[in-house]
Point group: C2
């Protein structure tokens, strides 16, 4: 369950009436997903919103995410739009937690994307990158290379020899991964299938921007491909791969430098999620066990990229 | 017809691809309403937007309207959201005209509002006023008292003696109407039934903010009531009147000063539209004839308010 902080209908009604212009609250429904925050669907007589209480992120970290979502929304990129309070601020406090209300993105995620859906996601991801160019916020990747290394140090003791060796050697291979990669700007960082909602055959919106940061655009594309274009056995689905990358390229062409690092980026994206899943699996925080994803799938993806490097050639 | 400036699908496609992050244009449909601007529905593979070419308003006047819509949207007030270009600006230029793209508000207007709809409109209008408090833009009412007087001077010659006398005496009665009226802030200024779209039994949004300005809130309520709560014979429909005013009051209570000027505000709102309709009727601009509204209805409303002043007593 993911409602870590309880909020009663009366509390939400009073808080919204005092601080917002979004109508009268008529219902509040806990959202049983999400491992970082407490989320509710908030129904008012004017529409449906999402109320989030931030359980770990603090009021000093949150402006990057909220301002980025607002920036992207203002550019027409379908992202949750943070709603300003009467004091013109996004962030408030409810029941002792930093809290914000965002617009509710219509639609549902897809588990088995079509080529057309992969194309739309690629296109929209490129639009997100371009729209983010004028965003002035800065946040380094909190799940970047420094984190891979420190998290790995904590999990080696849980791994068998083969996995330890795979992890060590891949970290060594990625030693150069870093800030020299350009072009860079705001990235989603976690654009998996469950973070894209489809509505009426379109991208209803990208959600869950709480791994967003400033990093290399091509790395964001690789992270996305690693989820959208992978078969159950860890191999790449060429149709979806081509569709997603063609969608992206139809909006923004990759540079030759990006094309060159593409195989390395696919491996880096697989490494990042293998490490975080190993970490969540072996060092779970209370209340998260039911959400721990299987680390093995990203190990297979990483091994696939090692064995069969995918040249970027579209 | 209201497409004053032609735009081809190819021109729109190129312009959007160069400047925006809203997807690939797939269709462009002229909107045959509006007397001030050229409007198109703009379909992209990511959604439906509205493209507006401003025929009279200039790039120096437009920021107030666009920034106000953006401000209200960011507060969750359902208004068209102006979309920022890649250069982070709302306003561009297309075929020699200032041009902007805004989100498409879902829904349809209602010609025969129910009490519940009137209630929702009142509630939403109050939210709009409160959300506008933190808006920093300034624009005087370009259809305010100074305009009533100057426009009247141009139309007296078209009027019979009775209408001339009615106009003169009402202008004299409203001589004190002005900037001393508080509370004030951004008002819609033209919240007639055709400027409110309903969607799924909710207010989909307010549209057409191009008469918005900074003026007295209670005057905005009166303008709204004069359209929403009037019967065909010019008399007031008490059910809708109560519903709208109760909706407004449920969000923001009128002050005693506002209650006191309420009957005068109803007359001022009727006068403003009687004058502008007389003006458009007798001094039409080319291409506008088909949109000229009958001035008589607002004359009847004004006379009704004179004969049967409505005390604000809810």
């Amino acid at each position: 369950m993911s409602v870590f902080t309880k909020v009663s209908l009366e509390e939400a009604t009073r808080w919204v009436k005092q601080h917002y212009s979004i109508g009268r609250v008529v219902n509040l429904r806990g959202i049983p997903s999400g491992i970082e925050n407490t989320n509710f669907f908030l129904d008012t007589d004017q529409g449906v919103f999402v109320l989030t209480l931030f359980e770990k992120l603090t009021a000093s970290e949150l402006p990057f995410y909220l301002n980025l979502m607002a920036h992207l929304s203002s550019h027409g990129v379908p992202a949750p739009t943070p709603i300003k309070k009467l004091d013109d601020q996004f962030l408030g406090e409810l029941n002792g937690k930093p809290a914000a209300i965002v617009s509710c993105i219509p639609g549902k995620p897809t588990d088995k994307p079509t080529g057309n859906q992969a194309h739309l996601v690629g296109e929209q991801l490129a639009h997100m990158h371009l729209a983010g160019q004028s965003f002035e916020g800065e946040l380094e990747n909190l799940r970047g290379k420094a984190w891979w290394v420190s998290a790995s140090d904590e999990i080696y003791s849980f791994l068998d020899e083969g996995d330890s060796e795979l992890l060590r050697s891949e970290l060594a291979y990625q030693a150069d991964f870093g800030a020299q990669l350009t072009p860079r700007g705001p990235i989603h960082g976690d654009l998996f299938r469950d973070n894209v909602l489809f509505h009426n055959s379109r991208v209803g919106g990208f959600i869950d921007f709480y791994f967003a940061c400033v990093d290399a655009w091509v790395y964001d594309v690789a992270i996305t491909v690693n989820d959208w274009c992978i078969n159950a056995d860890g191999s790449m689905d060429d149709e979806r791969l081509h569709a997603l990358v063609n969608g992206y390229s139809s909006v923004r062409q990759l540079t030759s430098a990006e094309v060159e690092v593409w195989p390395t980026m696919l491996r880096a994206g697989a490494l990042r999620f293998w490490v975080s899943r190993l970490y969540d699996f072996h060092l779970p925080r209370p209340g998260e066990l039911t959400h721990a994803h299987d680390p093995e799938s990203f190990k297979r993806i990483l091994q696939g990229h090692q064995a069969r490097p995918k040249i970027f050639n579209f």
